[in-house]
């Protein structure tokens, strides 16, 4: 039987090919998706960590010195026997320059030790036992002992007795006490090692394996008037940084615009240099609170820090990673910082007598850059690597700092995104497996039908059921095995072509092997079963059963229709339920903000349900329609071809429905993907425009000497730029106040008319009004302001109410104004991280006198990549030739601001799917026509013998194929449109703005054209077969 099966397949190449092609394409699609997930997932790590400014930070908790310190000693040095007593001695020392307030010592004993009642003493004096418990751990919360204020240089001694409740080896008794103060509320364990100086800590960390570099960074906020040069005083707060030249080289966003680093010199930010009127070579004076006299420093250079996230990203928990930029800054060496700033702050604390007198002490930290090259491509594995490195870093001189592991935090988000991506991609690949199974079952049933006669002959010759089953099994194994192998190879080749070798082979070989094994295994099972079952069932049927199967479809389709209708209703009901439960409203993610994309995986099943049930229902409806096709009433037959076609379609509608289901499933999948891809592209472009503010965002360099008033926007309207508008904006640059509340706010001042012409506004962002109406309201009233909905809620303000707004907060220009709330917005273009207040630029300028614009939004005439490139080039060649301008386009923003999930090559995946959709469309039509030729060969031979010309026979076959193609196209387009819309809804969390479903008519036309071409091509191939059809076959009855 094995040999028979092999020969049968080899000697019937057309039949073998028809059976193989569907399996190969389906498996190809499924395996391609698996390989694609590997290939593109592998780039997630690289993409996710690219924007991370500092990999690891070790920030000193006591930057000004040792502070309070707790020593714990146990009286016994050896093992403790059960019941044996010993004393625990606790010593609190304040080694700092300032008093430590509300010092709290806590010692919660391990289970093997028990407190001895009335044994606690402070400086030899007995302490009370609260509630009969240890004063160092009493009550349900194990509250510790409040020591109170500990003055600098003083020591507090505490001790108490313990009793062992069981035998304890000496080494098992470890310090368990902690100390905390008002100044440092995080409890610190007793006996922490001596502080390691920052430069030694840096050297030890830098020497660890996996570390590329470690640098010292120190910075402090200084009040206005801290910098002077000659008679000029900088009346704004400034930031003083201490870092080496190497640090600046490591972080390229620190750009030295003039001069350079010098041992005793200082670099100034452009704004500070302008404010003081100094240039490199000049001198200035730096006043640090607590210093006896100002430090005289030479200006060694000008440094642009406006994009240095490493320096200005917040280190505070609630605002972690917020870019809190201060335009006035001075950079000195770490040594100078230690010499000039740290002692002065220490003095200031000591002189004022309370640590709270200095609002924020200096920050001293080690910024660590990991060696990123060995990091695994997979975010999960990379996360384990970075965590291992972080643990090594943490073990170096612990206890004196806290560590921020930015890289691991980012990778943790990327890992979640990667998991979501895999689920999403597998969902997009699952139809491939289903189609493979469908095509295998389809070609399997065709094969089974065509082999009935052969099997009958074998039976006549004495072949038993077991032998025939073996024959079907061998044939299935060979076809499914070859199909799975060829399909997996095709999938690999497709991904190689679309992603390129570099991206694909970035995935670990093991992972690719697992995918290949999964593709082979799943395909073998799915395609094998789909092929074997029809053949097996055909063997089980007796002659009457076969006749029943071959009999015309005369049963009503109502029962089947009801079943598929019910399935569709269930899928739609589940969708509605999911919508009502907000399953599609998950938050969108962004690695840079530490948010993973939340995607409810179960919702991915809904489009799948709609796809299958919708296509089946549509095919069934078309089957019913075909069953009612009018035929010429007897005794006339009517035109031969039309009469035959109408009768075969209406009376053998099951074959028609199977064909329509096949074409419909493929077309629906292709259309759904096309809808999703078009919507995805449009939505990502809209997101990028929203994030950027418009198609172009032009930011003058802080180092530029050119003034940038609002009127400068006109200079930016170069060829390729349709409109430009000025924006003044900043973080925490305002205070908004109502009768109920007051809060620091982020404010932007815009020219409403110019903004309306230029910015990427969406009515969706302005509840109860339109974007145009909101901007008109802002323009109409100089006292108008637009408020973010959350800010309005926090201040309990509604449209028409008045609020006080402090403009240009923290500068000498700050002004309090009463403004009327003219509108509320949910989001504002150009401010993806949020904005609280928007005011008219004229009003702002008039109130504060500030004329310098922070950035300009510009709209390119041609939003394509080429148009953006041309506009950028024109800007750089025009105003940018004399003035340093930084131009962000939607393209650059898209690359920078995306979540790691959307960073995935979704378009590439859609391309993979499209390739297979197109091929499968042709395959389904091909199999349908081939099935006709195989199953109806006898009928065609008889018709030819009766005198039906070949071309009319071809018209009959082509007519049937055309009806299947048209029906499948119609069903597929309708279901595909719904599938695409649902897919967009499910994948909504990928986008910032709500995506608007785009119907890609060009893609739909391409699919329809390809289907038509496939039908014509297959019909032409059928013509070749028909020409070889010998009418004399009708005379052979064997």
């Amino acid at each position: 039987m094995r040999s028979y099966a092999r020969r049968d397949l080899l000697r019937n190449p057309r039949r073998t090919l028809a059976s193989l092609v569907g399996v190969v394409l389906g498996v190809g699609l499924f395996s391609a998706v698996l390989f694609f997930v590997d290939g593109s997932g592998a780039s997630m790590t690289k993409r996710a960590i690219a924007p991370v400014a500092i990999d690891l930070q070790r920030v000193l908790t006591s930057p000004l010195g040792e502070g309070v310190r707790l020593q714990q000693r146990l009286g016994a040095t050896g093992p403790l026997h059960r019941g044996e007593r010993t004393r625990v001695r606790l010593t609190v020392r304040n080694l700092g320059a300032a008093p430590a307030h509300e010092v709290l010592v806590k010692d919660r004993l391990p289970a093997a030790l028990a407190y001895v009642a009335r044994s606690a003493r402070r400086g030899g004096r007995r302490l009370a036992d609260p509630g009969g418990e240890s004063p160092f751990a009493h009550g349900p919360g194990h509250v510790g002992l409040t020591v109170g204020t500990v003055a600098p240089g003083t020591t507090v001694r505490l001790d108490y007795a313990v009793r062992a409740t069981r035998r304890l080896p000496g080494a098992a008794v470890r310090p368990s006490a902690t100390i905390s103060t008002r100044e440092r509320p995080v409890p610190e364990r007793a006996n922490r090692p001596d502080l390691v100086p920052l430069d030694r800590l840096r050297d030890r960390v830098a020497a660890l394996p996996g570390i590329a570099a470690a640098d010292q960074l120190a910075f402090a906020d200084l009040p206005p008037s801290s910098l002077q040069a000659g008679t000029a005083t900088l009346d704004r707060p400034i930031k003083v940084f201490g870092f080496e030249r190497a640090y600046a080289e490591r972080y390229p966003a620190i750009r030295v615009a003039a001069g350079g680093f010098a041992r005793d010199g200082a670099l100034l930010s452009p704004a500070a240099a302008r404010g003081l009127g100094v240039r490199p070579g000049d001198h200035m004076r730096l006043h640090v609170p607590g210093a006896r006299r100002p430090a005289r420093l030479a200006v060694s250079g000008i440094v642009d820090l406006s994009r240095a996230r490493a320096l200005f990203n917040s280190r505070e928990g609630l605002k972690l990673e917020d870019f809190l930029y201060l335009p006035d800054a001075i950079v000195i060496s770490p040594g100078a910082f230690r010499r000039l700033v740290v002692p002065a702050f220490r003095e200031a604390l000591a002189a004022r007598g309370t640590a709270l007198a200095v609002k924020s002490p200096p920050t001293l930290e080690i910024d660590v850059r990991l060696d990123r090259a060995p990091l695994a491509a997979d975010p999960g594995r990379a996360l384990r690597q970075t965590r291992a490195v972080a643990a090594r870093v943490r073990r170096v001189a612990p206890g004196q700092d806290f560590m921020l592991d930015n890289l691991s935090n980012t990778l943790a988000v990327a890992e979640q995104d990667a998991a979501v991506a895999k689920r999403m991609f597998l969902f997009l690949g699952l139809p491939g497996l289903l189609l493979a199974a469908f095509l295998a079952a389809y070609s399997g049933s065709v094969l089974a039908a065509s082999q009935r006669r052969e099997h009958a002959n074998l039976r006549l010759r004495g072949a038993g059921p077991r032998q025939l089953r073996s024959l079907v099994a061998y044939r299935t194994a060979i076809l499914a095995g070859a199909g799975a192998l060829l399909g997996t190879a095709a999938g690999f080749a497709t991904v190689l072509a679309i992603l390129g070798p570099s991206a694909l082979f970035e995935a670990a070989t093991g992972r690719l092997a697992v995918s290949a094994a999964l593709a082979l295994g799943a395909s073998l099972v799915a395609a094998g079963l789909a092929m074997f079952v029809p053949g097996w069932l055909a063997l089980r049927r007796d002659v009457s059963g076969e006749r029943r199967e071959l009999a015309l479809e005369r049963r009503p389709t109502a029962r089947r229709l009801a079943l598929e209708l019910a399935a569709l209703v269930v899928a739609l009901a589940a969708t509605l339920f999911a919508i009502r439960r907000g399953a599609f409203d998950a938050a969108s993610g962004q690695v840079s903000t530490g948010r993973a994309t939340a995607l409810a995986s179960h919702t991915l099943l809904l489009p799948l349900g709609v796809w299958v049930a919708g296509t089946l229902l549509a095919a069934r409806l078309l089957q019913r329609a075909a069953g009612r096709l009018p035929v010429t009433p007897p005794p006339r037959f009517g035109p031969v071809v039309r009469g035959l076609l109408a009768r075969t379609l209406s009376r053998r509608s099951r074959a028609l429905a199977t064909g329509i289901v096949g074409v419909g499933l493929v077309i629906a999948f292709g259309t759904g993907l096309a809808v999703f891809a078009a919507t995805y592209d449009a939505a990502k472009a809209a997101d990028a425009r929203f994030t950027n503010g418009s198609s172009l965002r032009v930011t003058p360099s802080p180092a530029s000497a050119t003034p940038h008033p609002a009127a400068y926007a006109r200079a930016l309207e170069v060829p390729g730029v349709a409109a430009a508008t000025p924006v003044i904006a900043g973080r925490e640059n305002a205070v908004a106040r109502s009768a109920f509340n007051s809060d620091v706010a982020d404010l932007a001042a815009i020219d409403p008319r110019g903004f309306a012409r230029t910015a990427a506004l969406s009515d969706e962002d302005f509840p109860h009004t339109t974007a145009a109406a909101a901007l008109r309201a802002l323009h109409a009233d100089p006292t108008a302001a637009l408020l973010d909905a959350d800010t309005a809620d926090a201040l309990r303000l509604k449209v028409g109410d008045r609020a006080e707004v402090l403009l240009a907060r923290g500068t000498r220009h700050q002004q309090l104004r009463t403004l009327r709330v003219a509108g509320v917005f949910d989001r504002f273009p150009g401010f993806p991280e949020g904005l609280d207040v928007v005011v008219d630029l004229g009003t702002f300028r008039h109130a504060t006198g500030i004329t310098e614009t922070d950035f300009f939004l510009a709209r390119a005439g041609d939003p394509s990549a080429a148009g953006l490139g041309a506009a950028t080039a024109a800007l750089q060649a025009g105003p940018g030739s004399t003035d340093r301008l930084h131009v962000d386009t939607t393209q650059t923003t898209f690359n920078k601001e995306q979540s790691s999930l959307t960073a995935l090559n979704v378009r590439g995946l859609v391309d993979v799917d499209s390739v297979y959709t197109l091929a499968m469309t042709a395959a389904v039509i091909g199999i349908f026509i081939f099935a006709l030729m195989l199953q109806r060969r006898r009928e065609y031979v008889v018709l030819r013998a009766q005198g039906l010309p070949t071309r009319e026979l071809l018209a009959l076959i082509a007519g049937e194929a055309t009806v299947v193609a048209a029906g499948g196209l119609l069903a597929g387009m309708v279901v595909g449109g719904a599938l695409g819309a649902l897919l967009v809804k499910v994948l909504k969390p990928l986008f910032i703005l709500s995506p608007v479903t785009v119907l890609p008519f060009a893609d739909a036309a391409r699919l329809a054209t390809l289907l038509a071409l496939a039908t014509v091509t297959c019909a032409l191939a059928a013509l070749g077969l028909l020409r070889r059809l010998r009418p004399s076959e009708v005379l052979r009855e064997t």
């Binding site: 037959f637 008889v942 009766q946 004399s1032 009708v1034 009855e1037």
Partner: protein, 241 residues
């Protein structure tokens, strides 16, 4: 009555190419059949009967030699012309009914009328079925009919367009004796009524006996011809009756 068509074969040879080499299925046969007569071609299985029928039925072209149907030489005709000839002038009855399974009995019959360009709305097809005792089965599909009924429908299909040459390939081969006699009687009656020429392939002497003439084949050659005495038949290769 349209009358029958004469049949003429002259040194007709048909060679098939197989894996084992060329096979000479018909080997230089020459004979003539008068219009309106009936002929039985007999012989054992594999002797070339069906191939001969394919040649005289314009289903195949001979490798060499000449086949004339009426005055028309069909051996040189192209596929389209032969198809035209078949649908207009020839009627086939096959060993099995070979009815189109998706057409009713009446439609199977009226399809042949439509093919011959005579689908004029007349009751001819139904009338013929009634004549054959199938009036009640006209609206039934082949799988709803018995074997004998199906073959009678096949006869009706072969006769409905009044062919001038009726070709039957083992028409009773799949039937029981009673049905076989009925079918044979139907064919002879139709021939008598229309004056058509009737050629029947059979291996059954009982079927061949009532026909005007009997030609026996072996290995692609004529080995016996009942008309040889009255009307000499030239059989290539020297075989004569």
């Amino acid at each position: 009555m349209r009358g029958g068509l004469s049949l003429g074969l002259e040194a007709v040879t048909k060679v098939f190419t197989t894996d084992a080499g060329p096979v000479r299925a018909i080997d230089g046969i020459t004979f003539e059949v008068a219009a309106g007569s009936s002929l039985a071609i007999t012989g054992r299985s594999g002797c070339g009967k069906s191939t001969l029928l394919a040649l005289v039925g314009a289903l195949e072209r001979p490798t060499s030699g000449r086949v004339d149907i009426g005055a028309r030489p069909v051996s040189g005709l192209g596929a389209q012309a032969r198809a035209r000839l078949r649908r207009a002038e020839l009627g086939f009855v096959f060993q099995t009914d070979n009815l189109q399974p998706f057409l009713t009995a009446l439609e199977n019959v009226s399809l042949q009328l439509a093919l011959s360009g005579r689908d004029d709305g007349s009751e001819r097809a139904l009338g013929l079925l009634r004549t054959l005792g199938l009036g009640a089965a006209a609206g039934k599909f082949p799988d709803q009919l018995s074997g004998g009924e199906r073959q009678r429908v096949a006869v009706a299909r072969a006769l409905v367009h009044e062919p001038r040459l009726i070709l039957a390939d083992e028409p009773t081969g799949a039937l029981d004796h009673a049905n076989a006699l009925v079918i044979l009687e139907l064919l002879r009656a139709a021939q008598a009524e229309t004056g058509a020429t009737l050629v029947v392939i059979t291996h059954d002497p009982e079927v061949a006996a009532p026909l005007d003439r009997r030609v026996a084949l072996s290995d692609g050659r004529v080995i016996a011809d009942s008309a040889a005495a009255a009307e000499p038949v030239t059989a290539a290769g020297g075989a004569g009756a």
